[in-house]
């Protein structure tokens, strides 16, 4: 995956036209950048997301969108009870979501705890499927920076292509923005070629103003992706949160020329929801983001529903859930 550079000709931005990624050397600089961001009116943002949910995706657009959504899935298992066998089966499914139909694209990645990375790496050899590891004391982020970095190194050593780190929500909510930023920078600095996804855990940030500021903080810190949630707290991805994060990614790109991806995770189970997210992507950040390089779904059961919808489109009748392997 490589980020493409957006033409910035003529674009005027809050942070200075074509300014590039602003340097953040002090917490004061970071604060002033975040303070310059526009507020979010929650009522208006909810209304916008709700209206986009009424888009009607039919025919060829639906076909293309279902395949696109499949190719954007980070097939995820993050359970204490995960086994090597389960990971093997997940990897097989990631490569070839439905063995009967080779025209179905592989998913984007599998997403696992770091100790399972080596096994997954082996199972995915020769495929395009990436291995993503949750690290930095996932899901709470409550550990020292040294432990978090060790966690990341461990996953990288085992062969992870992507690191899904969590931010320190306690620090963010208590105003220690510099600390949160420094952790993102520190993790990014050891990631090398591996892509860094920064999980904001928006369910704990609560307000959309916080979501916008945390998005910018992560992008300024070097995130390749900003991600909504761990899936481990009560509120995960919502269309409104995705809308605000995509606005942030769009504005950041116009300001700096760097395209940062967005990953929605947690609670997305139905194809209908996935298509609604794609509509929000299309009409907020634009079709440039409609690629697995820049938009992902962190999900497990969503994949089977996408497969079922796809088959239903072809057959014209509903499909039994048992036609596809469980995970």
């Amino acid at each position: 995956m490589s980020t493409t550079t957006l033409p910035t000709t003529g674009a005027q931005v809050r942070l200075g036209p074509g300014a590039g990624v602003p340097t953040v050397e002090t917490e004061g600089q970071l604060r002033s950048i975040l303070a310059s961001l526009s507020g979010v009116d929650a009522v208006g943002a909810e209304a916008r997301a709700a209206r986009l949910a009424t888009r009607s995706i039919k025919r060829a657009t639906k076909w293309a969108a279902l395949d696109l959504a499949i190719s954007m899935v980070d097939l995820t298992t993050l359970e204490g009870a995960d086994t090597l066998g389960r990971v093997s089966s997940l990897c097989a499914k990631a490569r070839r979501p439905d063995p009967r139909d080779p025209s179905i694209p592989s998913v984007a990645a599998v997403c696992l705890y770091p100790d399972l990375v080596a096994h997954a790496r082996e199972r995915l050899e020769g495929s395009t499927v990436k291995v993503a590891a949750v690290a930095t004391a996932f899901p709470s982020g409550r550990a020292s920076l040294a432990v978090k970095l060790a966690d990341v190194r461990d996953a990288l050593d085992a062969g992870a292509d992507e690191i899904d780190m969590v931010i320190d929500r306690g620090a963010f909510l208590s105003g220690r923005l510099g600390q949160v930023f420094d952790e993102v920078v520190a993790v990014k600095s050891i990631c090398g070629d591996a892509h860094l996804k920064v999980i904001l855990e928006t369910g704990e940030l609560v307000t959309l103003d916080n979501v916008r500021r945390a998005s910018w903080l992560a992008m300024l810190g070097g995130a390749d992706f900003i991600k909504t949630s761990t899936g481990k707290v009560g509120v995960s991805a919502t269309p409104t949160v995705a809308l605000v994060m995509l606005e942030a990614a769009r504005d950041f790109a116009e300001s700096t020329g760097r395209l940062v991806g967005v990953k929605v995770a947690g609670g997305i189970r139905r194809s209908k929801d996935a298509l609604r997210y794609l509509v929000i992507v299309n009409e907020t950040a634009g079709s440039a983001w409609l690629t697995p390089d820049l938009f992902r779904f962190g999900a497990s059961s969503l994949l089977n529903d996408l497969l079922a919808q796809r088959l239903m489109q072809r057959r014209g009748v509903y499909v039994r859930p048992d036609e596809f392997s469980g995970d």
Binding site: L6, P7, T8, G10, A11, Q12, V13, R14, S38, G39, V40, D41, V43, G44, A45, A47, R48, T54, R55, S56, I57, K58, R59, A60, T61, K62, V244, E247, R250, A253, E254, N282, E283, A285, G286, S287, A288, W289, L290
Partner: protein, 488 residues
């Protein structure tokens, strides 16, 4: 068409395949009579006038043109129903009918939405999600008031006015009918409703609903026709109240005709609403609000935010984002569920929009129009934004009633207020700021009936709506809306 290059990012948007709602849901009759005394008259007994689908210019149906004698029959039917039935029907009983009507509108909402979109040209998304649900909501709301008029703040046992003549516009045909009929019926009046010439169909479906609801004959009568039909209603001595929504010009003529008579009058007329944007506004939601303010219903909205007053410090950024968003609007087949902007309602209205836009260009304003493709058949106008507009331009003063926004800038809150108030109208304004104290300071000084804060074009039956100055008088909606139909 665009005289200024876009300063847009080059992100691109994916097109969606067509997703049209089925026109056959409309189940229209080839021709309609008048709805008088609970029954439809024989269509063949009247001159029949076609009503067009503005998106295709095809004839949808023909409707009767009511002449003076027809209006007289309708008013006499309403008078008889008032004297013998409705004035002696209890509030609780009147509420029962209103609740029925509301539920029937909900039950037939899909059909009504398609009819509204076919006849008016508005996107099905709007008729489905705004017009029809709000029409039902108005009947539900006023049904609740019918047996509680003693507690409406007008003293014990407030009396209805009698027979109300109600003349409604073409921009929200069913919704305007609901705004007029629901409070009138709740308060105990009987009605003669005159739908707009170009959009009579949903009112005729409503007539079927009134029959289904077994509303006593004559309580509501619906006479279709043109301005002459409306004039006959205004002139009729048997009418106790005229409620008119439409242009200031016609409103003024009606008021002149009624001078010296005891006929009650409320007028909801034109507007030139200002959407005032301060530099601390929530920018993404504000852009959506500007878009909704002027492009909702193709700008055929009396309270449209047709003037954008933007603080100079953020003007460039607001315009850049606004033009990007305008480019994104999907203009086309109103029945397509993904259409954002539909057809202009009539040839006459399109001509007026074109005339004013030409005036804007010749007076020196800078025009930007969406590069969207427009269908060849039908009446269409691309969403348009004028910059470099001054207060003296016609496009800053006259109501365009189309998808055309005039952008002006200001530097201080005082200047914003003074520019916003520098109009003969006074219907609606919007204020966008995250600073509550400033919003209130501005709102207190704006001369307009409705002021929205960090939103625009939001309607609710509980909230009174109406204008000041040349935007008219009287309120519709809320407890205040009852006063228009009570002798208080």
């Amino acid at each position: 068409m665009s005289s200024r290059p876009l300063a847009n990012s080059e992100l691109g948007w994916l097109a969606y395949d067509p997703a049209p709602e089925s026109a056959s849901l409309a189940r229209l009759a080839p021709s309609y009579g008048l709805f008088i005394n609970g029954t439809f008259t024989d269509p063949g007994a009247h001159e029949q006038v076609p009503t067009l689908n503005p998106a295709t210019e095809a004839t949808l149906a023909t409707v009767a043109h009511a002449v003076d004698e027809d209006v007289d029959r309708a008013v006499r039917a309403a008078r008889h129903a008032y004297d013998t039935v409705w004035s002696v029907t209890s509030g609780a009983e009147r509420a029962k009918y209103l609740f029925r009507i509301a539920r029937l509108i909900q039950e037939r909402s899909r059909e009504l939405a398609v009819v509204e979109t076919l006849d008016n040209g508005k996107p099905i998304r709007e008729s489905r999600d705004v017009d029809i649900p709000l029409a039902a909501a108005h009947f539900f709301y006023y049904a609740g008031w019918a047996d509680k008029l003693d507690h409406a703040g007008y003293g014990a046992n407030p009396r209805p006015l009698g027979v109300a003549g109600q003349i409604i516009p073409w921009n929200f045909p069913l919704l305007m009918a609901a705004w007029k009929l629901a409070p009138a019926l709740a308060a105990g009046n009987t009605c003669v409703l005159k739908p707009a010439e170009t959009t009579p169909l949903s009112a005729l479906i409503l007539a079927e609903i009134l029959q289904q609801a077994e509303l006593p004959p004559g309580v509501v009568n619906i006479v279709t026709g043109d301005g002459a039909t409306g004039a006959a209603l205004v002139e009729h001595p048997g009418v106790d109240k005229i409620a008119f929504t439409g242009s200031t010009e016609v409103g003024r003529a009606i008021q002149a005709r009624l001078a010296g008579r005891g006929t009650h009058l409320t007028l909801e007329l034109g507007g030139k609403g200002a959407n005032i944007v301060f530099d601390d506004a929530p920018i993404d939601e504000m852009i959506e609000g500007i878009i909704d303010g002027i492009f909702f219903n193709q700008g055929h909205v009396c309270c449209a935010g047709s003037r954008l007053l933007v603080q100079e410090t953020v003007a460039d950024e607001v315009l850049r984002r606004l033009e990007r968003r305008v480019e994104q609007l999907r203009v086309g087949d109103p029945l397509d569920k993904n259409t954002d902007v539909g057809a202009i309602n009539s040839r006459a209205q399109l001509t007026r929009i074109e005339e004013l836009v030409a005036a804007g260009e010749s007076e020196g304003a800078t025009r930007y129009s969406s590069s969207c493709a427009l269908p060849e058949q039908g009446y269409w106008f691309a969403p348009t934004v004028f910059t470099d507009v001054s207060q003296t331009h016609r496009i800053a003063r006259e109501e365009i009633f189309g998808p055309v926004l005039s952008v002006l800038t200001f530097r201080t809150p005082e200047e914003a207020v003074s520019k916003a108030n520098n109009t003969t109208y006074g219907l609606a304004c919007g204020v966008w700021s995250e600073k509550g104290s400033r919003t209130l300071w501005v709102a207190e000084r704006l001369r307009a009936g409705v002021i929205w804060a960090n939103t625009y074009n939001r309607f609710d039956p509980t909230s009174p709506f109406g204008g000041v100055r040349e935007s008219g008088f009287g309120r519709e909606g809320g407890r205040q809306g009852l006063a228009a139909y009570l002798d208080v």
